[in-house]
Protein backbone atom coordinates (compact mmCIF):
# COMPACT_ATOMS: atom_id res chain seq x y z
CA UNK A 1 0.00 0.00 0.00
CA UNK A 2 2.98 2.30 0.27
CA UNK A 3 4.75 3.50 -2.83
CA UNK A 4 2.88 3.72 -6.10
CA UNK A 5 5.65 3.55 -8.58
CA UNK A 6 8.06 0.88 -7.56
CA UNK A 7 10.92 0.96 -10.01
CA UNK A 8 11.89 -2.22 -11.79
CA UNK A 9 15.47 -1.87 -10.54
CA UNK A 10 15.55 -3.40 -7.11
CA UNK A 11 19.32 -3.68 -7.27
CA UNK A 12 21.23 -0.41 -7.35
CA UNK A 13 22.77 0.59 -10.64
CA UNK A 14 26.50 1.14 -10.18
CA UNK A 15 28.04 4.47 -11.16
CA UNK A 16 30.32 2.59 -13.50
CA UNK A 17 27.36 1.01 -15.32
CA UNK A 18 25.71 4.42 -15.46
CA UNK A 19 28.86 5.98 -16.88
CA UNK A 20 29.43 3.36 -19.54
CA UNK A 21 25.76 3.41 -20.56
CA UNK A 22 25.68 7.19 -21.04
CA UNK A 23 29.17 7.35 -22.49
CA UNK A 24 28.09 5.15 -25.39
CA UNK A 25 24.84 7.01 -25.80
CA UNK A 26 26.77 10.26 -26.05
CA UNK A 27 29.29 8.75 -28.43
CA UNK A 28 27.03 6.88 -30.83
CA UNK A 29 24.16 9.27 -31.31
CA UNK A 30 24.85 11.29 -34.40
CA UNK A 31 22.69 14.05 -35.77
CA UNK A 32 21.29 15.21 -32.44
CA UNK A 33 18.22 13.61 -30.91
CA UNK A 34 19.71 11.49 -28.16
CA UNK A 35 16.35 10.99 -26.48
CA UNK A 36 15.41 7.77 -28.34
CA UNK A 37 18.79 6.29 -27.46
CA UNK A 38 18.38 7.05 -23.81
CA UNK A 39 14.84 5.67 -23.74
CA UNK A 40 15.94 2.50 -25.50
CA UNK A 41 18.95 1.92 -23.26
CA UNK A 42 17.52 2.76 -19.84
CA UNK A 43 13.89 1.68 -20.31
CA UNK A 44 13.75 -1.02 -22.98
CA UNK A 45 17.12 -2.77 -22.73
CA UNK A 46 18.25 -2.26 -19.15
CA UNK A 47 14.93 -1.84 -17.30
CA UNK A 48 16.38 0.84 -15.04
CA UNK A 49 13.23 2.93 -15.33
CA UNK A 50 9.70 2.29 -16.58
CA UNK A 51 8.18 4.43 -19.31
CA UNK A 52 5.96 5.86 -16.57
CA UNK A 53 9.05 7.13 -14.80
CA UNK A 54 11.03 8.09 -17.88
CA UNK A 55 8.48 9.97 -20.00
CA UNK A 56 7.67 12.69 -17.43
CA UNK A 57 11.40 13.33 -17.13
CA UNK A 58 11.58 13.60 -20.88
CA UNK A 59 8.78 16.16 -21.01
CA UNK A 60 10.39 18.15 -18.19
CA UNK A 61 13.75 18.08 -19.94
CA UNK A 62 12.26 19.73 -22.96
CA UNK A 63 10.71 22.57 -21.00
CA UNK A 64 13.63 23.24 -18.66
CA UNK A 65 16.56 25.31 -19.91
CA UNK A 66 19.39 23.33 -21.42
CA UNK A 67 19.83 20.60 -23.98
CA UNK A 68 17.21 17.85 -23.78
CA UNK A 69 19.68 15.00 -23.72
CA UNK A 70 21.89 16.36 -20.95
CA UNK A 71 18.78 17.18 -18.94
CA UNK A 72 17.47 13.65 -19.34
CA UNK A 73 20.87 12.31 -18.32
CA UNK A 74 20.70 14.43 -15.17
CA UNK A 75 17.12 13.24 -14.55
CA UNK A 76 17.90 9.56 -15.01
CA UNK A 77 21.13 9.83 -12.98
CA UNK A 78 19.34 11.52 -10.11
CA UNK A 79 16.52 8.98 -10.23
CA UNK A 80 18.95 6.08 -9.94
CA UNK A 81 21.77 7.41 -7.77
CA UNK A 82 21.01 10.97 -6.62
CA UNK A 83 23.58 13.76 -7.06
CA UNK A 84 26.45 11.38 -7.81
CA UNK A 85 24.30 9.72 -10.46
CA UNK A 86 23.47 13.04 -12.09
CA UNK A 87 27.09 14.14 -12.27
CA UNK A 88 28.18 10.73 -13.58
CA UNK A 89 25.52 10.58 -16.29
CA UNK A 90 26.16 14.17 -17.36
CA UNK A 91 29.94 13.71 -17.50
CA UNK A 92 29.45 10.44 -19.37
CA UNK A 93 27.13 11.78 -22.04
CA UNK A 94 29.44 14.73 -22.70
CA UNK A 95 32.82 13.02 -22.59
CA UNK A 96 32.51 11.40 -26.02
CA UNK A 97 31.44 14.62 -27.76
CA UNK A 98 34.11 16.48 -25.76
CA UNK A 99 36.84 14.38 -27.35
CA UNK A 100 35.18 14.27 -30.77
CA UNK A 101 34.84 18.03 -30.95
CA UNK A 102 38.60 18.41 -30.64
CA UNK A 103 39.19 15.83 -33.34
CA UNK A 104 36.66 17.61 -35.55
CA UNK A 105 38.28 20.97 -34.92
CA UNK A 106 41.54 19.82 -36.43
CA UNK A 107 40.12 17.80 -39.32
CA UNK A 108 36.84 19.34 -40.40
CA UNK A 109 37.95 21.10 -43.56
CA UNK A 110 39.13 17.81 -44.96
CA UNK A 111 36.05 15.84 -43.89
CA UNK A 112 33.39 18.29 -45.05
CA UNK A 113 34.72 18.18 -48.59
CA UNK A 114 33.87 14.52 -49.05
CA UNK A 115 30.52 13.93 -50.78
CA UNK A 116 30.74 10.31 -49.82
CA UNK A 117 30.40 11.15 -46.17
CA UNK A 118 27.26 13.17 -46.72
CA UNK A 119 25.38 10.17 -48.14
CA UNK A 120 26.45 8.05 -45.19
CA UNK A 121 25.32 10.79 -42.83
CA UNK A 122 21.88 10.82 -44.46
CA UNK A 123 21.64 7.06 -44.00
CA UNK A 124 22.56 7.36 -40.33
CA UNK A 125 20.01 10.13 -39.92
CA UNK A 126 17.27 7.97 -41.49
CA UNK A 127 18.08 5.03 -39.23
CA UNK A 128 18.24 7.34 -36.21
CA UNK A 129 14.80 8.66 -37.08
CA UNK A 130 13.59 5.06 -37.16
CA UNK A 131 14.82 4.80 -33.62
CA UNK A 132 12.85 7.85 -32.64
CA UNK A 133 9.80 6.28 -34.24
CA UNK A 134 10.41 3.22 -32.07
CA UNK A 135 10.41 5.44 -28.98
CA UNK A 136 7.14 6.99 -30.11
CA UNK A 137 5.60 3.52 -30.57
CA UNK A 138 6.83 2.39 -27.17
CA UNK A 139 5.48 5.56 -25.53
CA UNK A 140 2.11 5.23 -27.26
CA UNK A 141 1.80 1.66 -25.98
CA UNK A 142 2.60 2.77 -22.42
CA UNK A 143 -0.16 5.35 -22.49
CA UNK A 144 -2.81 2.64 -22.72
CA UNK A 145 -6.17 2.65 -24.39
CA UNK A 146 -7.99 5.41 -22.55
CA UNK A 147 -9.80 8.17 -24.37
CA UNK A 148 -8.25 11.07 -22.44
CA UNK A 149 -4.54 10.28 -22.95
CA UNK A 150 -5.17 9.41 -26.59
CA UNK A 151 -6.84 12.78 -27.18
CA UNK A 152 -4.04 14.63 -25.36
CA UNK A 153 -1.49 12.76 -27.43
CA UNK A 154 -3.19 13.61 -30.70
CA UNK A 155 -3.76 17.27 -29.84
CA UNK A 156 -0.13 17.64 -28.72
CA UNK A 157 1.00 16.04 -31.96
CA UNK A 158 -1.15 18.36 -34.08
CA UNK A 159 -0.15 21.53 -32.23
CA UNK A 160 3.56 20.83 -32.65
CA UNK A 161 3.73 18.76 -35.83
CA UNK A 162 1.14 20.56 -37.93
CA UNK A 163 0.32 23.93 -36.35
CA UNK A 164 4.03 24.38 -35.44
CA UNK A 165 3.37 26.02 -32.10
CA UNK A 166 6.34 26.43 -29.80
CA UNK A 167 7.12 23.29 -27.84
CA UNK A 168 7.31 25.04 -24.49
CA UNK A 169 3.92 26.71 -24.97
CA UNK A 170 2.29 23.43 -25.94
CA UNK A 171 3.71 21.60 -22.93
CA UNK A 172 2.64 24.36 -20.57
CA UNK A 173 -0.91 24.33 -21.97
CA UNK A 174 -1.39 20.59 -22.41
CA UNK A 175 0.11 19.36 -19.14
CA UNK A 176 -2.44 20.91 -16.76
CA UNK A 177 -5.30 19.72 -18.96
CA UNK A 178 -3.84 16.25 -19.15
CA UNK A 179 -3.24 16.08 -15.39
CA UNK A 180 -6.81 17.14 -14.67
CA UNK A 181 -8.18 14.55 -17.09
CA UNK A 182 -6.09 11.77 -15.58
CA UNK A 183 -6.99 12.73 -12.00
CA UNK A 184 -10.09 10.48 -11.66
CA UNK A 185 -8.19 7.46 -12.97
CA UNK A 186 -5.32 8.17 -10.59
CA UNK A 187 -7.58 8.28 -7.55
CA UNK A 188 -9.33 5.12 -8.66
CA UNK A 189 -6.06 3.30 -9.25
CA UNK A 190 -4.65 4.28 -5.86
CA UNK A 191 -7.80 2.92 -4.21
CA UNK A 192 -7.78 -0.30 -6.18
CA UNK A 193 -4.22 -1.47 -5.87
CA UNK A 194 -0.89 0.11 -5.08
CA UNK A 195 1.17 -0.80 -8.11
CA UNK A 196 -0.03 1.09 -11.13
Amino acid sequence: MTSQNSSPHTKAVSLFELYSCFFWIGMMSFGGGLMPWIQREVVTRRNWLTNEEFLPGMAMSQVLPGVNSTNVAVYVGQHLRGAAGSITALAAILSGPFIMVMIAAVSYEFVLGIKFIQAAAAGVAAAALGMMLTTAISAIRSCGLNIAPICIMIVTFILIGIVHMSLVTVVLIMTPISVLLSWPRTIKASEDKPDA
Binding site: G66, T70, L129, V170
Partner: protein
Protein backbone atom coordinates in the same frame (compact mmCIF):
# COMPACT_ATOMS: atom_id res chain seq x y z
CA UNK B 1 45.02 37.14 -23.06
CA UNK B 2 44.20 33.54 -22.19
CA UNK B 3 42.35 34.53 -19.02
CA UNK B 4 40.40 37.11 -20.99
CA UNK B 5 39.28 34.60 -23.58
CA UNK B 6 38.36 31.94 -21.06
CA UNK B 7 36.40 34.40 -18.96
CA UNK B 8 34.82 35.75 -22.13
CA UNK B 9 33.69 32.23 -23.09
CA UNK B 10 32.15 31.82 -19.67
CA UNK B 11 30.39 35.17 -19.83
CA UNK B 12 28.93 34.43 -23.26
CA UNK B 13 28.08 30.74 -22.86
CA UNK B 14 26.82 30.38 -19.27
CA UNK B 15 23.77 32.63 -19.82
CA UNK B 16 23.08 30.80 -23.09
CA UNK B 17 23.01 27.58 -21.10
CA UNK B 18 20.00 28.90 -19.24
CA UNK B 19 18.51 30.57 -22.31
CA UNK B 20 18.47 27.40 -24.38
CA UNK B 21 14.91 26.42 -23.63
CA UNK B 22 13.69 23.82 -26.09
CA UNK B 23 17.08 22.76 -27.36
CA UNK B 24 20.19 24.13 -28.96
CA UNK B 25 18.49 25.95 -31.81
CA UNK B 26 17.53 28.77 -29.45
CA UNK B 27 21.17 29.70 -28.85
CA UNK B 28 22.49 29.89 -32.40
CA UNK B 29 21.37 33.43 -33.07
CA UNK B 30 22.68 35.00 -29.83
CA UNK B 31 25.87 32.93 -30.04
CA UNK B 32 26.53 34.10 -33.56
CA UNK B 33 25.90 37.69 -32.54
CA UNK B 34 28.38 37.47 -29.65
CA UNK B 35 31.06 35.28 -31.21
CA UNK B 36 31.05 36.66 -34.74
CA UNK B 37 29.87 40.26 -34.58
CA UNK B 38 30.66 41.57 -31.11
CA UNK B 39 33.80 39.70 -30.09
CA UNK B 40 35.02 38.54 -33.51
CA UNK B 41 36.26 35.24 -32.15
CA UNK B 42 35.39 33.52 -35.43
CA UNK B 43 34.57 34.68 -38.96
CA UNK B 44 31.03 34.24 -40.35
CA UNK B 45 32.34 31.48 -42.62
CA UNK B 46 33.93 29.64 -39.71
CA UNK B 47 30.70 29.85 -37.75
CA UNK B 48 28.78 28.37 -40.67
CA UNK B 49 31.37 25.59 -41.01
CA UNK B 50 31.08 24.79 -37.32
CA UNK B 51 27.31 24.63 -37.70
CA UNK B 52 27.65 22.09 -40.51
CA UNK B 53 30.21 19.98 -38.64
CA UNK B 54 27.90 19.66 -35.66
CA UNK B 55 25.42 17.74 -37.80
CA UNK B 56 28.04 15.05 -38.26
CA UNK B 57 29.14 14.97 -34.65
CA UNK B 58 27.85 12.93 -31.75
CA UNK B 59 26.33 14.85 -28.90
CA UNK B 60 24.30 18.02 -28.56
CA UNK B 61 24.70 20.55 -31.36
CA UNK B 62 25.37 23.33 -28.87
CA UNK B 63 28.86 21.80 -28.62
CA UNK B 64 29.36 24.33 -31.40
CA UNK B 65 30.39 26.60 -28.54
CA UNK B 66 33.20 24.18 -27.74
CA UNK B 67 34.53 24.47 -31.30
CA UNK B 68 34.78 28.22 -30.74
CA UNK B 69 36.55 27.43 -27.47
CA UNK B 70 39.05 25.30 -29.38
CA UNK B 71 39.82 28.07 -31.81
CA UNK B 72 40.44 30.51 -28.94
CA UNK B 73 42.31 28.46 -26.37
CA UNK B 74 42.63 24.86 -27.50
CA UNK B 75 41.91 22.24 -24.86
CA UNK B 76 41.18 24.72 -22.08
CA UNK B 77 38.82 26.60 -24.33
CA UNK B 78 36.88 23.39 -25.03
CA UNK B 79 36.78 22.54 -21.34
CA UNK B 80 35.59 25.97 -20.20
CA UNK B 81 33.05 26.17 -23.04
CA UNK B 82 31.63 22.73 -22.24
CA UNK B 83 31.30 23.47 -18.53
CA UNK B 84 29.75 26.87 -19.20
CA UNK B 85 27.28 25.41 -21.69
CA UNK B 86 26.03 22.52 -19.57
CA UNK B 87 26.71 23.11 -15.88
CA UNK B 88 24.13 25.88 -15.25
CA UNK B 89 21.23 24.18 -17.01
CA UNK B 90 22.13 20.82 -15.46
CA UNK B 91 22.06 22.31 -11.99
CA UNK B 92 18.56 23.66 -12.58
CA UNK B 93 17.47 20.30 -13.97
CA UNK B 94 18.98 18.46 -11.02
CA UNK B 95 17.10 20.61 -8.52
CA UNK B 96 13.82 20.05 -10.35
CA UNK B 97 14.43 16.30 -10.76
CA UNK B 98 15.30 15.91 -7.08
CA UNK B 99 12.20 17.75 -5.89
CA UNK B 100 10.17 15.69 -8.32
CA UNK B 101 11.44 12.31 -7.09
CA UNK B 102 11.06 13.38 -3.47
CA UNK B 103 7.29 13.43 -3.95
CA UNK B 104 7.10 10.02 -5.64
CA UNK B 105 4.08 8.06 -4.39
CA UNK B 106 1.96 11.09 -3.55
CA UNK B 107 -1.33 11.07 -5.49
CA UNK B 108 -0.64 14.39 -7.20
CA UNK B 109 2.77 13.12 -8.27
CA UNK B 110 1.13 10.12 -9.88
CA UNK B 111 -1.43 12.36 -11.53
CA UNK B 112 1.33 14.62 -12.85
CA UNK B 113 3.23 11.60 -14.09
CA UNK B 114 0.17 10.22 -15.85
CA UNK B 115 -0.65 13.63 -17.24
CA UNK B 116 2.85 14.16 -18.61
CA UNK B 117 3.01 10.79 -20.35
CA UNK B 118 0.64 11.47 -23.25
CA UNK B 119 2.11 14.97 -23.64
CA UNK B 120 5.61 13.50 -23.90
CA UNK B 121 4.29 10.89 -26.32
CA UNK B 122 2.79 13.60 -28.51
CA UNK B 123 6.12 15.44 -28.43
CA UNK B 124 8.12 12.44 -29.64
CA UNK B 125 5.59 11.62 -32.34
CA UNK B 126 5.56 15.20 -33.59
CA UNK B 127 9.36 15.18 -33.50
CA UNK B 128 9.45 12.18 -35.81
CA UNK B 129 6.97 13.85 -38.15
CA UNK B 130 8.86 17.16 -38.24
CA UNK B 131 12.25 15.57 -38.82
CA UNK B 132 10.85 13.32 -41.52
CA UNK B 133 9.46 16.33 -43.35
CA UNK B 134 12.75 18.22 -42.94
CA UNK B 135 14.57 15.29 -44.50
CA UNK B 136 12.60 15.80 -47.68
CA UNK B 137 10.56 12.65 -47.08
CA UNK B 138 12.19 10.58 -49.82
CA UNK B 139 11.28 6.92 -50.32
CA UNK B 140 14.65 5.44 -49.23
CA UNK B 141 14.50 7.62 -46.16
CA UNK B 142 11.01 6.47 -45.22
CA UNK B 143 11.86 2.82 -45.91
CA UNK B 144 14.99 2.98 -43.78
CA UNK B 145 13.16 4.71 -40.95
CA UNK B 146 10.27 2.23 -40.88
CA UNK B 147 12.55 -0.78 -41.31
CA UNK B 148 14.68 0.25 -38.33
CA UNK B 149 11.58 0.95 -36.22
CA UNK B 150 10.14 -2.48 -36.98
CA UNK B 151 13.43 -4.23 -36.14
CA UNK B 152 13.83 -2.36 -32.88
CA UNK B 153 10.20 -2.86 -31.86
CA UNK B 154 10.30 -6.60 -32.51
CA UNK B 155 13.60 -7.19 -30.72
CA UNK B 156 13.85 -5.49 -27.34
CA UNK B 157 17.51 -6.33 -26.87
CA UNK B 158 18.74 -5.34 -30.31
CA UNK B 159 21.50 -2.72 -30.16
CA UNK B 160 20.86 0.23 -32.47
CA UNK B 161 24.47 0.79 -33.54
CA UNK B 162 24.57 -1.96 -36.22
CA UNK B 163 21.36 -0.53 -37.65
CA UNK B 164 22.89 2.93 -37.92
CA UNK B 165 25.93 1.47 -39.63
CA UNK B 166 23.62 -0.46 -41.97
CA UNK B 167 21.82 2.82 -42.67
CA UNK B 168 25.10 4.46 -43.63
CA UNK B 169 26.12 1.56 -45.87
CA UNK B 170 22.77 1.28 -47.66
CA UNK B 171 22.67 5.00 -48.39
CA UNK B 172 26.28 4.88 -49.51
CA UNK B 173 25.32 2.13 -51.93
CA UNK B 174 22.32 4.09 -53.19
CA UNK B 175 24.57 7.10 -53.67
CA UNK B 176 27.06 5.10 -55.67
CA UNK B 177 24.38 3.73 -58.03
CA UNK B 178 22.88 7.22 -58.30
CA UNK B 179 19.58 6.44 -56.62
CA UNK B 180 19.91 8.95 -53.81
Amino acid sequence: MRENNLIGLMIVLAPLSLASVGGATAIYAPLQHEAVELRQWVTPQEFLNYFTIMRFMPGPSSMLGALIGWKLEGFWGVLVATLSLYAPSSLVCFIVARSWSRFAGKPWHTAMQRGLMPVATGLVSAGVWNLFQLSGGSLPYAAMMIGVAIALTISKKLHPTPLLIAGALVFEGLYLVDLL
